[in-house]
């Protein structure tokens, strides 16, 4: 489907809502980057700046009783599912009011109330989990779907192919969303595989798959929407490959010597937020004032979240021993 066709199904409220979500993610992560630099957000932090279009377009169409799994680069998915900014920020700062009460951190955001079932730092390890969630839908009945986000690096991990095979064999209502940003850590995709497209990797399984411009939020929205409609009817699995780029290093602190200035500049020009703004203004989906408001509101909300997080205490020491095992309910 062309972008034009895609945009025909996206009305003004949807477009603006996508813009707001993307700005929330961008503002959140830009602030996180500063907080990493000052040490207020500790640990290994992977930002999705430049990839927000995928999170917004996919999660914006999901419900809170769906099951979403993400990985190490998952802030955007969490926020787009509706995880509160303040508790997300508190989690990144390791505070008691964090989504996981400070136990998880950046790589492990979980917010069951909003359908975010898990985030794993083991590349590829989340894909089987999503299949399990989809199987539960099948066994229990219902129109929920399971969605899992992963990068192009995960596709070469054994779990990926095992999962594609099982998902197609069992026809699970799962949508696998690959954010192909061309790199796994410091290594380009060409050093990981000879197969250029992830959608090509799954071709033998004859599952519905599509490769879209991941920086074109309308294109992602339309393609995912089509998949979602089928998954709601219990059909699946499907794979959506979104071609994108991270505008930051692999992790905060990565000097990213492995990439070319030119490449970065090109992708900066394709920034998904800029593109959405340009298009939305052109097509009259929103006006300049709304654009400015989306950014401003996002930054204000993030600032409030930072204040919330800063005021949240660190967990009490005895929390160390809590939740190793679940108690009988």
């Amino acid at each position: 489907m062309t972008t034009d066709a895609a945009s025909s199904i996206i009305d003004a409220p949807v477009a603006f809502s996508l813009l707001r979500t993307m700005w929330r993610i961008r503002a959140f992560e830009e602030r996180v980057s500063e907080l990493v630099a000052t040490g207020e957000v500790p640990g290994l932090v992977h930002l999705s700046i430049g990839q927000e279009g995928v999170a917004a377009a996919v999660c914006g169409q999901l419900r809170h009783d769906d099951a979403v799994y993400t990985g190490h680069r998952g802030h955007g998915h969490a926020l787009a599912m509706g995880a509160p900014l303040d508790r997300a920020m508190a989690e990144l700062m390791g505070r008691a009011d964090g989504l996981c009460h400070g136990k998880g951190g950046s790589m492990h955001l979980v917010d069951v109330a909003h359908g975010l079932l898990g985030a794993t730092g083991v590349v590829g390890g989340n894909i089987p989990l999503a299949l399990g969630a989809a199987l539960a839908v099948r066994l229990r009945g219902g129109d929920q779907v399971a969605v899992v986000f992963f990068g192009d690096g995960a596709v070469q991990a054994g779990h990926f192919n095992e999962s594609i095979n099982l998902a197609t064999l069992w026809e699970l209502p799962a949508i696998l969303v690959c954010e192909n940003n061309g790199f796994a850590e410091f290594t380009p995709r060409s050093a990981h595989t000879k197969v250029e497209r992830v959608s090509d990797v799954v071709a033998p399984y004859d599952l519905a798959s599509e490769t879209v411009d991941g920086n074109d939020v309308f294109a992602v929205y339309a393609a995912f929407g089509r998949f979602l409609a089928r998954a709601r009817q219990g059909r699946g699995p499907m794979l959506l490959e979104c071609l994108t780029y991270r505008l930051r290093g692999h992790y905060e602190g990565d000097p990213a010597r492995y990439r070319q200035a030119l490449e970065v500049a090109e992708w900066q020009a394709r920034d998904p937020i800029l593109r959405l703004e340009r298009r939305g203004l052109e097509q009259g989906l929103f006006g300049q004032a709304e654009v400015a408001a989306a950014e401003r509101e996002a930054r204000e909300a993030v600032e409030a979240a930072v204040q919330f997080a800063r005021q949240s205490p660190f967990p009490a020491r005895d929390q160390l021993f809590v939740h190793t095992y679940a108690e009988q309910e």
């Binding site: 794993t120 390890g125 894909i127 089987p128 999503a130 299949l131 779990h159 679940a326």
Partner: protein, 328 residues
């Protein structure tokens, strides 16, 4: 009461838990045909193919699917055909299942049972005979169960399925065809409660799985030699009933720990460490360990027989504790 094998007790209990709770389902390789030993025989016929799912040879992913399904509120029982292949599922079990509750600050639960079987003695050689339960005891968030009898297999499996945590349930292939009287309705056996298999005042033997019967045989022989052995079967390693062992040692002052896994890094070492800390003064002799030697499992029958720890080593170890002279 009826005469049941260990295997049949598992099979019957699987059917019972599936009947009692529609959230329970089974997945694994060849489970519809019953698997190589027959543990899941008849379940597909009774409960349908949706709830008894054959899988491809994808241990990691099927374990992960079970985890995801458990997080979504089902009660999967996933089978890894031989514990040797748990090596392929450990990322899912250790990095995903065991930690989800903790990492999510209590939001996620993973009530799954992973059934598998280990142990040597069947000439199945080095890749189909191992005992890896100690690895699993080293992972916070997992529980580990090792039934040694048909009744226990039935009672522990019920508790494992009811538990809100991931429970690894480790069977032993050498026990499968042992027959015993089993009540028609077995009550759940809580995890973490040891069984005193035989009371005695002179030496305590703590033994797991296949070694329990060996310990009882050793006790029988030692009784003939005037020594009363107390045999304790912890039944679950995590949680471990230290209390039962320590209080036995407070009576006998001598302890032998026995399992089939190799000694180095085995759970026996953990028992030694806990008991010497809890009952240092009570010990009149070093704690002896009876385990497999530190080698891979050889195929050749006489070598495998020599490999397997059993009654004779237990008798010798008991005598070693009895013969020990402090300062001697």
């Amino acid at each position: 009461m009826s005469q049941l094998t260990y295997l049949k007790a598992i099979n019957r209990t699987l059917a019972e838990v599936m009947r009692a709770d529609p959230r329970v389902f089974v997945l694994g390789e060849d489970v519809r045909e019953g698997g190589p030993f027959g543990a899941t025989q008849g379940l597909a016929e009774a409960f349908g193919e949706e709830r008894v799912r054959d899988t491809p040879i994808s241990e990691g992913t099927i374990c992960g699917i079970a985890i995801g399904a458990a997080q979504a509120g089902l009660r999967p029982i996933v089978e890894i055909m031989f514990i040797d292949f748990i090596t392929l599922a450990l990322d899912q079990l250790v990095n995903q299942a065991a930690k989800a509750h903790y990492m999510s600050g209590g939001q996620l639960r993973v009530p799954l049972v992973l059934r598998t079987q280990g142990g040597a003695g069947q000439r199945a050689a080095a890749q189909h005979s191992q005992s890896f339960e100690a690895w699993l005891t080293h992972v916070p968030g997992l529980k580990v169960v090792m039934p040694s009898s048909a009744s226990d297999a039935a009672g522990l499996l019920q508790s494992a399925v009811a538990d809100p945590n991931p429970v690894v349930y480790v069977e032993n292939k050498a026990l499968y065809f042992q027959r015993e009287e089993v009540p028609d309705a077995v009550a759940p056996i809580p995890l973490g409660r040891a069984a005193i298999r035989r009371p005695g005042r002179d030496v305590t033997i703590v033994a797991t799985s296949r070694l329990v019967a060996e310990a009882l045989a050793a006790a029988e022989q030692l009784a003939g030699e005037g020594i009363e052995v107390e045999v304790i079967d912890p039944r679950s390693l995590v949680p471990f009933d230290l209390e039962a062992v320590a209080s036995s040692v407070a009576r006998t002052h001598r302890l032998v720990v026995a399992h089939e896994a190799v000694g180095q890094g085995g759970f026996g070492a953990e028992i030694v460490a806990q008991v010497q800390a809890a009952a240092f003064d009570e010990l009149d002799a070093p704690i002896e360990r009876v385990t497999a030697p530190f080698t891979p499992i050889p195929f050749s029958p006489p070598l495998e027989d020599a490999y397997l720890p059993g009654k004779d080593q237990l008798v010798a170890a008991a005598w070693a504790t009895l013969g020990y002279q402090i300062g001697g």
